[in-house]
């Protein structure tokens, strides 16, 4: 009995040791960047994790609209993500509903095409995207970027939502049809209210994807006042990494903290959406 207890003690101690090491590895970069953002001076050569005379200057610089585009980038990113989210939810609800509830010529091929398209990342065709955007005048516009994001989101999310809609019994819409409800009425008043959980998941995914995207925004957007956060933050690094590092640190903290809080808050939706996607679609 004693040996069993000591074995348990060793096992738990080792577990806590591993967890402690992981805590350090996870939290160290976070503390380091927060510390850096409060350091006086621009570079890090003489900085400390807990600065002697902490300053909020770098945050003030970022909020100074005259000299910094940071707030604009923040606004751009949120604007683009919200627009993408709204358009994606609308178009995906329609496509998923059609594929789930109707049997029409071309349905099978359509589903197959969506499946294949969701596998190819849409930035793979980046040459084409660049040339086409130039040709259509959508280069360096947020509209062009939003259209690209929505188009890229449709195939995967259609499969995701179709999987969920398939699980809503068809008897419901059949009986509504008997009662004389039209197509649109069934869609809006019967099926969509029941699909709220998956709509939330699709909305979440289609908000997060543009927010975290770097490559498409980098290809399409060239003027500094139209940057998204990812491109803007990269430009702070690209110019003079060493010379502006503390300001960059402040910029990172301002993105990381609100998004992380939001994420932790909504985490269960992410997991449910992804497991639904994994096992169903």
């Amino acid at each position: 009995m004693k040996s069993k207890n000591s074995r348990k003690f060793v096992r738990l101690s080792l577990s806590y040791l591993v967890i402690g090491i992981m805590f350090a590895i996870i939290i160290y970069p976070v503390l380091w960047i927060i510390g850096s953002s409060f350091n006086p001076g621009d570079s890090l050569s003489s900085s400390k994790m807990i600065p002697d005379n902490a300053t909020l200057n770098h945050y003030k610089e970022l909020f100074d609209l005259e000299n910094s585009d940071y707030l604009l980038w923040y606004f751009n990113s949120i604007k683009i993500s919200v627009m993408t989210m709204i358009l994606t939810v609308i178009s995906v609800s329609f496509t998923a509903y059609a594929f789930s509830r109707y049997r029409f010529v071309g349905r099978k091929n359509g589903l197959m095409t969506f499946l294949i398209l969701q596998m190819i990342p849409n930035f793979a065709a980046l040459i084409a995207i660049y040339v086409l955007a130039t040709r259509t005048g959508l280069i360096d516009t947020h509209l062009g970027l939003v259209l690209l994001y929505v188009g890229g989101q449709i195939p995967m999310n259609t499969w995701l939502m179709k999987g969920y809609l398939d699980s809503i019994p068809r008897d419901l819409d059949e009986s509504a049809k008997m009662d004389g409800a039209g197509h649109l009425r069934i869609f809006f008043q019967i099926v969509m209210p029941l699909a709220k959980p998956i709509i939330a998941v699709v909305a979440l995914f289609s908000f997060v994807a543009p927010f975290g995207d770097f490559i498409l925004a980098k290809i399409l957007i060239s003027s500094s006042d139209k940057y998204t956060l990812a491109v803007g933050l990269y430009s702070m690094v690209g110019k003079q990494f060493g010379a502006e590092f503390t300001k960059f640190a402040a910029g990172s903290v301002l993105i990381a903290i609100p998004i992380a809080l939001l994420f932790l808050f909504l985490q269960k939706y992410f997991v449910s959406g992804l497991t639904a996607g994994g096992t169903k679609g």
Binding site: W32, Y234, F241
Partner: protein
């Protein structure tokens, strides 16, 4: 032939309506008129007329451009012609689809008449149009967008792979020409391209397997560790372990790129210094950059697997473990024979998408060190994977044709892996395909 027979058709051969309608429908609408459906017939006929009057010029120039890619430099812009050509192709496909529907419709209604069914009245036709048209109507916005922002670029890249489009063959000053499989042949035949391709491809594979396996192994290991019954503080541990997933990846990668910086980065100046290790050239020696990248991806990617695995573990019934304990199984045996198979079975699709994700993980490669350091003697940098190499070829080297060819190779790889995976998933097998 068909039109001759129709004069006598209705009275004499009561069984040939379907064939007659089909043959008449070679001119859209006439088959429907023959079936007595004036509304439908007029719609098809009008559509046809509109199609040809509107698109004749587009199609004519489009196909000419697609075939020749222009004949006079400075006057003909090859790339614009290529775009117009693809547009002409898409319009043609659309036209053929409508044409096919017209033939099918005429044939179907003809068949109905043959077996003596009365055709729908005008009112019913209208109802039918609404009922059958509704799914098409609601998928059209999404599909249209998909065609223009996803399918169009894919066709464009595909065609570009067979041209010599690069800085020296660049409109408007020069024309672009079709070169068949020359780009693919060059990549495998010309020394500098071949060595670069295989070194980039090799690193892409090493990167994909090392980074993904690290994050998967770490995620599963930690999930099992935290899931131990007698471990206290699960909630707080899980929240902290999710953190790297919660912070947007581009922020974390840029922060790491600062931490690994050779002149001021905290890894060299503080951590390694305290351990008494000499500074490491993280950013200027390929192998060290690669090592750092794999570690960082482990950091970024494990929480996702951790969360998934935790979900699976919580759904495994305790009975299994109790039974195993009674049978005298050791902790390791329980893990090997119960936990691991169940976890892997449930998360397999997600794990595979993690591999394909890292195969194309442009962000970490580009944001950490621009794909660098630069390497002498090849046009890719030290940590370039295929996708970032394509970016470099396109955006800085102007090797559009070659970049498109490599894109084709990359897409083929990703698609075969993904198709293989989806063929095995349940939903795909259960899907009633019509």
């Amino acid at each position: 032939m068909g039109s001759l027979q129709t004069n006598i058709g209705p009275q004499v051969t009561r069984t040939k309506h379907a064939r007659n309608a089909l043959l008449l429908s070679i001119i859209p609408g006439f088959g429907q008129f023959y079936n007595g459906q004036k509304l439908k017939g007029s719609i098809y006929l009008v559509l046809t007329v509109i199609f040809f009057t509107t698109f004749f010029q587009t199609l004519n120039i489009g196909f000419w451009g697609l075939i020749t890619l222009g004949e006079i430099p400075r006057l003909d812009h090859s790339i614009r012609l290529l775009i117009d050509g693809i547009l002409a192709l898409l319009i043609t496909v659309l036209g053929l689809v409508i044409y096919g529907l017209n033939l099918f419709d005429a044939y179907k209604d003809g068949k109905k008449r043959e077996i003596g069914l009365s055709l729908n009245s005008l009112r019913e036709q209208y109802r039918n149009l609404i009922d059958n048209g509704f799914p098409y109507l609601i998928i059209s916005p999404g599909v249209l967008l998909l065609v223009f922002v996803v399918i169009f670029p894919i066709i464009f890249s595909f065609l570009l792979a067979f041209t010599n489009y690069d800085l020296y063959h660049s409109p408007p000053a020069n024309l672009v020409d079709w070169v068949g499989f020359q780009n693919f042949i060059d990549i495998f035949k010309i020394d500098i391209w071949r060595t670069t391709f295989f070194s980039v491809f090799g690193w892409t594979l090493v990167w994909t397997f090392a980074a993904t396996t690290l994050q998967v192994a770490l995620g599963i290991f930690l999930a099992v560790l935290v899931n131990q019954k007698d471990l206290k503080g699960k909630a707080i541990i899980r929240t902290v372990f999710i953190l790297p997933w919660a912070v947007p990846a581009f922020v974390s990668i840029l922060v790491f790129s600062g931490m690994f910086n050779e002149s001021f980065g905290v890894i060299n100046t503080t951590i390694l210094a305290n351990l008494g290790i000499d500074p490491v050239n993280w950013m200027t020696e390929s192998n060290w950059t690669r090592f750092a990248l794999i570690m960082i991806q482990g950091w970024l990617g494990f929480p996702f697997i951790f969360a998934m695995t935790t979900g699976v573990l919580q759904s495994i019934s305790d009975d299994l473990y109790e039974a195993a304990t009674i049978d005298g199984a050791s902790a390791w045996q329980k893990f090997r024979k119960i936990t691991l198979p169940l976890v892997l079975y449930a998360t397999a699709p997600i794990i595979i998408t993690q591999y394909t994700f890292n195969f194309n993980n442009f962000n970490i490669i580009f944001l950490f060190n621009n794909g660098g350091p630069a390497v002498a003697g090849q046009n890719a940098w030290g940590t370039d994977i295929l996708i970032s190499w394509i970016y470099r070829l396109t955006m800085t080297a102007g090797q559009y044709g070659k970049a498109a060819a490599i894109t084709m190779i990359l897409s083929l790889i990703v698609m075969s892996v993904a198709l293989w995976q989806f063929k095995r998933t349940k939903s795909f097998q259960e899907e009633d395909m019509m």
